[in-house]
Every structure is written in structure tokens, then in C-alpha cells.
């Protein structure tokens, strides 16, 4: 979808051009900003978190944030309107606000087994039989274990597919509405990385045992999943119209696994998917929860200029810039605790430092760490969003000259 409207008068690029320049490691007119707001919008708009499952309420809430605290360049498509669709991406049992939690709670994941050890072999089998459909077959095996309302077998597909399609169509409409405001989507379709989805679906105790006793089985099953993950992303792309794929990595940080385990068991399937997406002309937006400090070096194996690594405030983002900044766009990382508990001047100071150091020479997107904390102070969110105007404009001629001379 075409975006023509500029966000600020001083801008010389549209938000789409700005985001693409950052991903491609070029120098945009200024640092792009994406707030990553979900539950915060409910609190700010005075509705319950459970109300966000209604598209109209979610859109009103996020639009209020945009009008009163924004603007911003990039919107993350986080509206989920059918709870079962969340489980296609995050294969875990859930406690849901308004269903199994009070209406103003936030969604929480339960560490229970929904994938049996035998499923690794079954995954490899279905990946041989029907590689493109493997993702769908796998998650449809898990869905009835998570939600009692989802029937087993083909009836489960009949239950889920219309809801998935409804999401895609609703997101497409929302993307168009945002485009009219000059805002571009962060990404289109997405998946949880294969290794990470196994960790979530097995539960941490079982998965820890698998890592110790059967690491080769995990690696083979993860690598087998790539065609299915790619097929899902490619299938949704024409509907959403966004050539940026989201890949969530909730369990590959060094809070969970060693850098050696990451390199041997998680990275190969991730790299395969990123390279295949690149061949399709798509970039990969890696949502990297937790501390990735010891994994940065391995991320250099990913292709340059088509990957975003999004950090949540736990990793050393300044170290990331040093190690991977020449190959990978870095996104982050105003910490949740700073937005919730800090002062406006502290937020401003941290954003200024991010822009000056991580934003140096381009390849940077300013975002909240993971997401804006539900209990963030609105004035802090505003300070974060305004910092790109105060400090984020590049002197592009100087920046390119510096890059050319290595200064």
C-alpha cells in the first residue's frame, strides 16, 4: 500500500521509506520510531484489557494514543480478535483476561506440555510428506490441546481457518487506515522460530531434558519446519501486502540457552528461514526477548541488510551495535521499568543516547523494550516518541561521507 503523507514537516522521507532505509542499513532522514503499544493502550483509553479483543475498541484505543502521545512512524499489528489465533504463533496454554483472568489483567502463558517427545519424529514425517503444510498441520494438532472449543481433525481446520482469514482481512484494513495517517506496519505475517516453538510447546522441564538427551532430534525437527513456516508467511503476504516477516525468538536468548546451543540448535533453522525469505524479497524482523549478549557474534551469520534484531532492554544494545551493527538493523530498547518508573528526563536522556550511539550511521529503529509497559507513564511514552524529532534527524551527507572514509 502506498504511503505519501509525511509524519513531521521536516521529514524528507515517508515512514515506509525511512523504515526500509534503516533495515537496509542506509541512512534515513531521521531515526524511525515504533512504540510497540498493546496493553498500555487499554489503560490509557480507560478500557479493560479484555476489551482489546474487539477490533473497534482496539483501534479507538491505539488511535487515541497516536493522537495524544504520537505521532509515530511504525505500527505493530498486535490486534488479536480471536483468541485461538494467538496459539498459532505461541504454542502454549494461556490465561486470558476476561476469560480465565480478571478483565484488566494481561495475558499469561502456562508452562505445560502440549507437545510430546514423539512429536519431534511426527514433525519430521509430516515435513517429508507435505513440507508446505507442515506448520499448519503441527499447530492444528496442538490447538485442541490448548482450547477445548477447537475440535480435533478436519473440523478444527473449519474452526480456525475462517478466524485466521478474518484476522488477515482486518489487519489489511487497519494497515490501510494507518497508511492514510502516514504510518507503516512493522511486519506482516509472522511465526515463532521452530526451536523456540518446541521449547514453548514442550514446557521448560521437558525441553531441558530434550536438550540434554536428544539435541540432534531437536535440530533436525527445527530444520524440517522451515518450508512450512515459509509457506505460511508467503501465503499471508499477498493479503497483508507487507514484505517484512516477523520471527519471534522467545526462548533462544542466553537467559535460556548457551551461545553454543544457540549456534548448533536454534540458528541453523533460523538462518535457513531468513535466507529463504530474502530470496523471496522479504526482510526478517527478529523479536529477541531476553539477554542475547553471547549470541550476537553468531547472528553475524545471517545475511546482511535484510534483518532487524529487536532487543527488549535486557541485552546490551550498545554492544550489539559494535558486533552486528554493520550487518543487521538494531531495534530497541527503552526498558519497561524506565517507562513505568522513570522520569521524563531519564527517558529523554536514554533515548538521546540510543539515537546518538546505536543510531549512528543508520540501521536503527527506536522502540520500547518488548512493548510499552502497561503501567508506563503517558508522559514517558510521549518523551520517547518525541526524542526522534529532538535528536533523530541525520545529516545524511555527513553520514555517508563518514561511512565512505571509515570515520
Amino acid at each position: 500500500m502506498k504511503i505519501t503523507k509525511k509524519i513531521y514537516a521536516k521529514d524528507t522521507m515517508t515512514s515506509e521509506e525511512r523504515l526500509q532505509a534503516a533495515i537496509n542499513l542506509q541512512v534515513p532522514d531521521r531515526v524511525p520510531v515504533c512504540p510497540r503499544i498493546y496493553y498500555f493502550a487499554a489503560k490509557y483509553a480507560g478500557v479493560d484489557n479484555a476489551d482489546l479483543y474487539d477490533p473497534a475498541t482496539w483501534n479507538e484505543a491505539i488511535d487515541k494514543c497516536f493522537r495524544e502521545l504520537g505521532p509515530w512512524d511504525i505500527i505493530n499489528p498486535w490486534g488479536f480478535y480471536h483468541i485461538e489465533v494467538i496459539s498459532l504463533i505461541f504454542p502454549m496454554k494461556l490465561l486470558v483476561p476476561g476469560l480465565t483472568l480478571p478483565r484488566d489483567s494481561i495475558l499469561q502463558f502456562l508452562e505445560e506440555e502440549i507437545m510430546e517427545f514423539e512429536d519431534y519424529e511426527w514433525i519430521m514425517k509430516i515435513c517429508r510428506q507435505t513440507p508446505s503444510l507442515s506448520f499448519l498441520r503441527l499447530v492444528m494438532k496442538w490447538e485442541p490441546k490448548i482450547w477445548s472449543q477447537v475440535p480435533k481433525g478436519w473440523k478444527g481446520y473449519a474452526y480456525i481457518m475462517p478466524r485466521l482469514l478474518d484476522h488477515l482481512i482486518t489487519w489489511r484494513k487497519e494497515f490501510k487506515q494507518w497508511a492514510a495517517k502516514g504510518v507503516t506496519p512493522l511486519s506482516g505475517a509472522g511465526v515463532e522460530a521452530a526451536f523456540d516453538s518446541f521449547s514453548m510447546a514442550r514446557g521448560l522441564v521437558n525441553f531441558s531434558r530434550d536438550l540434554k538427551q536428544h539435541p540432534d532430534v531437536i535440530a533436525r525437527a527445527a530444520e524440517a519446519m522451515t518450508p512450512g513456516n515459509l509457506y505460511l508467511i508467503k501465503s499471508a503476504q499477498p493479503i497483508l501486502g507487507i514484505k517484512r516477516a516477523a520471527i519471534a525468538l522467545h526462548r533462544s536468548s542466553n537467559d535460556f540457552i548457551s551461545p553454543d546451543t544457540f549456534r548448533k540448535l536454534s540458528l541453523p533453522s533460523l538462518k535457513d528461514l531468513v535466507e529463504r525469505l530474502k530470496a523471496e524479497g522479504m526482510s526478517s524482523h527478529l523479536h529477541c526477548d531476553g539477554n542475547w549478549d553471547l549470541n550476537f557474534e553468531a547472528l553475524r551469520e545471517l545475511p546482511a541488510g535484510c534483518v532487524v534484531v529487536e532487543l527488549d532492554g535486557t541485552s546490551d544494545i550498545f554492544k550489539a551495535k559494535e558486533i552486528i551493527g554493520d550487518r543487521i538493523c538494531i531495534s530497541g530498547d527503552v526498558p519497561a521499568s524506565l517507562l513505568a518508573l522513570g522520569s521524563v528526563s531519564e527517558v529523554d536522556e536514554y533515548c538521546h543516547r540510543l539515537i546518538e550511539e546505536v543510531g549512528k550511521g543508520g540501521g536503527f529503529i527506536l522502540t520500547a523494550g518488548c512493548e510499552v509497559a502497561p503501567n508506563a507513564k503517558p508522559e514517558n511514552v510521549k518523551a520517547m516518541l518525541e526524542s526522534v524529532v529532538k535528536y533523530g534527524y541525520y545529516d545524511r551527507a555527513t553520514a555517508y561521507k563518514a561511512a565512505a572514509t571509515g570515520a
Binding site: L95, S105, I106, Q108, L110, E111, L204, V205, F207, S208, R209, L211, K212, N254, D255, F256, I257, S258, T261, G290, L294, G313, T314, P335, A336, S337, L338, A340, L341, G342, A373, P374, N375
Partner: protein
């Protein structure tokens, strides 16, 4: 020597090997306290390797599982002598949060270190922490939380101890993903730990 083999098996996170050795030692009539000491020695090595970043979360989780299984085998053979020798510790995930991976590991490691641990589970209201600390006489309370909304619950729990007139007699430590110095200041707790090893060190600092 069996106890040395048990400690080594736990240190190597060899679940089957460690449990087989424990069973063998019990069958041979080995003093159960010697076996408990071997478990602690093995867990201590795991902790050291975790601090040295040689081990990561899977090794902590698995070794805690081994400890729990092994202690359940040994417990029936322990008499009064097997009672925890350290002080009482109350631990739980604060109200509004159900995450318990980190909390469970810390609880197991505290037990392993000899503390009398009362684990209250998840989503624990402030009053329950206070009541349990009163009941057990615990001088240390450990609050866990992964969500940012847990900050308010941690603060409310610290305040509940103050309201109950127990703030001077109870040390409160906090931990969990987003917890840092800023959160510590906000909550008014006594200290925070970034990982289970730090939690154990804090327990030793406050309880000896």
C-alpha cells in the same frame, strides 16, 4: 565412593546416573545425611558453573529436578536429623503474575542450601506473604515477578509488611526478568537478585 559419584553425577546433570546411585546407596544402608550432603555438593557445583556461564537455564532446571527426585527418595529415611538446618524463607510469585520458572528454581536451590522454604506458588496476595511469614517466623521473604505489573504488587507486599509492623524483622528480596535497581527503589525491598545464584547469595547474606 557413592556420595562422590552422586555429587559428580548431579554436577554433570546426569539424571539417570544420579538417581541410580542414590537408590544404590540407600539399598546399601548409607547414612541418608551423607547422601543429602552429596546432593548439596553436586548442586553447589552446578551453581558455580552457572555463575561461570558454563551452564545455563536447562542445566539449572534439570539439576533442580534431579534434586527434587533424589530428596523424595531419601526423605523417608531421614528422621529429625533431616530437618532443614537453615532459617525459614517464604517465597512466591506476587499477585497478578503466574510465572513460576525462576521462582521454582530459586525455591529448590534454597531448599538444597538447607533453608526451610515455604513456597506459596503464584499470584500470591500481599496478606498471604505476611500471614505466612508470621506463622513460620521467616526472617526472609522472596518475591518473584516477570510482568511489569508485578512491580506494583511487590511494592504493595513490602508495604503490607510495614503495615503489619514486621518490616524491621523481615528482609525482603525481589527477582524476575525486568527487576533491576530502579524497580528495587520503587518497591522498597532490601535487595534484588538477577539469577538464582544471586538469590542464594542474598539468603546467605541475610540469614547466614
Amino acid at each position: 565412593m557413592t556420595s562422590g559419584t552422586i555429587a559428580a553425577s548431579i554436577a554433570e546433570v546426569d539424571e539417570d546416573g544420579a538417581l541410580a546411585e542414590v537408590r544404590k546407596a540407600l539399598d546399601a544402608g548409607t547414612d541418608p545425611l551423607v547422601l543429602v550432603e552429596a546432593l548439596r555438593e553436586g548442586m553447589s557445583t552446578v551453581g558455580e558453573r552457572f555463575e561461570a556461564r558454563e551452564y545455563f537455564l536447562p542445566e539449572l532446571i534439570l539439576s533442580a529436578e534431579i534434586f527434587k527426585q533424589a530428596i523424595s527418595l531419601i526423605e523417608p529415611h531421614l528422621g529429625e536429623a533431616g530437618r532443614p538446618s537453615g532459617g525459614a524463607v517464604v517465597i512466591g510469585t506476587v499477585q497478578g503474575d503466574v510465572h513460576d520458572i525462576g521462582k521454582n528454581i530459586v525455591a529448590t536451590m534454597l531448599r538444597c542450601a538447607g533453608y526451610d522454604v515455604r513456597d506459596l506458588g503464584t499470584d500470591v496476595p500481599p496478606g498471604v506473604f505476611v500471614d505466612t511469614a508470621k506463622e513460620t517466623g521467616a526472617a526472609l521473604v522472596a518475591l518473584s515477578g516477570l510482568l511489569t505489573v508485578a512491580f506494583d504488587s511487590m511494592k504493595a507486599t513490602v508495604e503490607a509488611f510495614a503495615d503489619a509492623g514486621m518490616r524491621d524483622s523481615v528482609k525482603i528480596i525481589i527477582g524476575g526478568g525486568p527487576v533491576n535497581e530502579m524497580v528495587l527503589g520503587f518497591c522498597g525491598a532490601d535487595a534484588y537478585g538477577r539469577d538464582p545464584s544471586e538469590a542464594i547469595a542474598l539468603a546467605e547474606r541475610f540469614l547466614g
